[in-house]
């Protein structure tokens, strides 16, 4: 491969990355009607996109180190080792281009940034786990366990109707005595089936992971948008599983009872109200008012772009990993 064609490939990948990063939110908004019909696929696409985007950025920089050659910053012996590793990791036969940018910077800077981001994500994740644990402990202390329509739940004495789910280890399904009093049996069953779906599908881990990543990379519009609309798709996925067990009408009635604004929202609540404005709309989807074949083209475009970027990332990172594991030995 000539240097010019290698640079063209890198440029195309860079443009794809920029397009998804900047115009991804618009793509997701247009794809929402189609994605809502397959919420599991939508969740996979969003999580995949959030993971693939920064990984491709790292991979692109590492791949450029195969093409661009600059002045050596390292001592001669270290530079030779580095060069051997680069050659061993490169699965393509590419001509190099002489630049004034030291090659080692293309390796070190993205690697250091990636390591810092990983540490930040891990710290954020642990903070969320601690917050979830302490919040759950406070609630569970006020609650008592009881079997309810075949589910083992925690009940809190509160006249206001509400239901929520912690991860199974932190208490699982928790609802107020007000919810039990105000909901009919089939409505309660719908709520419990919905909450059980959250636990079965590990939605707590998904939200913790995605929000932790998004907290570090909020400057990327696509990642910010994907993290914000993800909860809507999780709700739709839980509704879908619940509707296999219970009547949709019962779920609709339960939503009307528990959706009444009885709990002060404060400033955080009002912010959350606008947070999901760009989402697919759980309620229209549930009652079947969002029909038609709209959104398939943007969904396909987003999916194929993310798959392409993922493919590029895997090739580059796998090549480096194999080279490092084999001691940078040349074939």
């Amino acid at each position: 491969m000539t240097a010019a064609s290698a640079l063209t490939v890198a440029l195309i990948i860079g443009i794809s990355l920029a397009v998804i990063g900047i115009f991804g939110p618009a793509l997701l908004r247009h794809a929402a009607p189609a994605l809502a019909k397959t919420p599991h696929l939508a969740v996979a696409l969003l999580i995949g996109g959030i993971l693939v985007w920064p990984t491709t950025l790292l991979a692109l920089s590492l791949a450029l180190a195969w093409v661009l050659v600059g002045p050596a910053l390292l001592p001669q012996k270290a530079a030779l080792v580095c060069e051997q590793c680069l050659t061993a990791a490169n699965p393509f036969s590419v001509e190099s281009i002489q630049t004034t940018l030291p090659t080692v910077l293309l390796l070190v800077i993205p690697t250091v940034i990636a390591a810092m981001c990983t540490v930040g994500i891990a710290a954020q994740f642990m903070a969320r786990v601690r917050c979830s644990r302490s919040t759950a402990a406070r609630v569970q202390h006020e609650a008592y366990r009881r079997p309810l329509l075949g589910y083992n739940v925690s009940v809190v004495h509160d006249h206001r109707p509400w239901a929520l789910t912690f991860s199974p280890r932190l208490g699982g399904i928790t609802l107020s005595s007000g919810a039990i009093d105000q909901l009919a049996d089939d409505e309660l069953e719908a709520v419990l089936a919905h909450e059980q779906a959250h636990m079965d599908q590990r939605h707590h881990i998904v939200t913790a992971l995605v929000d932790s990543i998004a907290a570090q990379l909020r400057w990327v519009p696509f990642i910010r948008e994907a993290a914000e609309v993800l909860p809507d798709y999780l709700e739709i996925a839980a509704d879908q599983q619940a509707c296999r067990k219970v009547n949709t009408t019962a779920l609709v009635r339960a939503l009307l009872v528990l959706g009444e604004k009885k709990i002060p929202t404060g400033t955080i609540g009002s912010a959350a109200g606008t947070l999901f404005a760009a989402g697919p709309g759980r309620i229209p989807h549930l009652v079947g008012s969002s029909t038609g074949r709209k959104g398939y083209v943007p969904a396909l475009a987003a999916g194929s772009q993310i798959l392409l970027l993922g493919f590029v990332s895997v090739i580059v990172l796998l090549s480096y990993a194999i080279a490092l594991l084999t001691g940078c030995s040349l074939p």
Partner: protein
């Protein structure tokens, strides 16, 4: 004495003392000790009650020459306060808590009611 705003976080012993006050009403330090398992030191419980006072959970009233302590809010108000905080925390998404539903908009409410009417009409 400065009082912390909102529903404060209570330690295990503070929670135990609060439950005793909710169950038995106005008590002296010695009476609180009698309800507690083991034999905690007088000064420990006096300190716990002082901390609870600073957190806005307990008030102290003079009853002749003795001081009696009582809860400033009942158990239900405390639970409701905790739930307000928990529900705000989950909206803030700083913790992984999933709601069945937050609040529904007027448009969504209309859609749900319309759906129910359609279903009723089909019966």
């Amino acid at each position: 004495m400065s009082i912390e705003p909102g529903i404060p976080t209570l330690g295990p012993l503070e929670e135990q003392v609060m439950h005793i006050l909710w169950d038995h009403g106005k008590l002296t330090v010695r009476e609180v000790i009698e309800f507690l398992p083991g034999d905690p030191a007088y000064t420990t419980i006096a300190t716990v009650l002082r901390h609870l006072g600073r957190k806005g959970m307990v008030t102290t009233v003079k009853d002749g020459r003795t001081a009696r302590h009582s809860a400033l809010m009942n158990r239900e108000q405390y639970t409701a306060g905790i739930m307000d905080q928990v529900l705000s925390t989950s909206r803030d998404r700083s913790a992984s808590i999933l709601h069945f539903v937050d609040t529904i908009t007027a448009t969504d409410r209309e859609l749900l009611l319309e759906y129910l009417q359609q279903q009723e009409g089909r019966k």
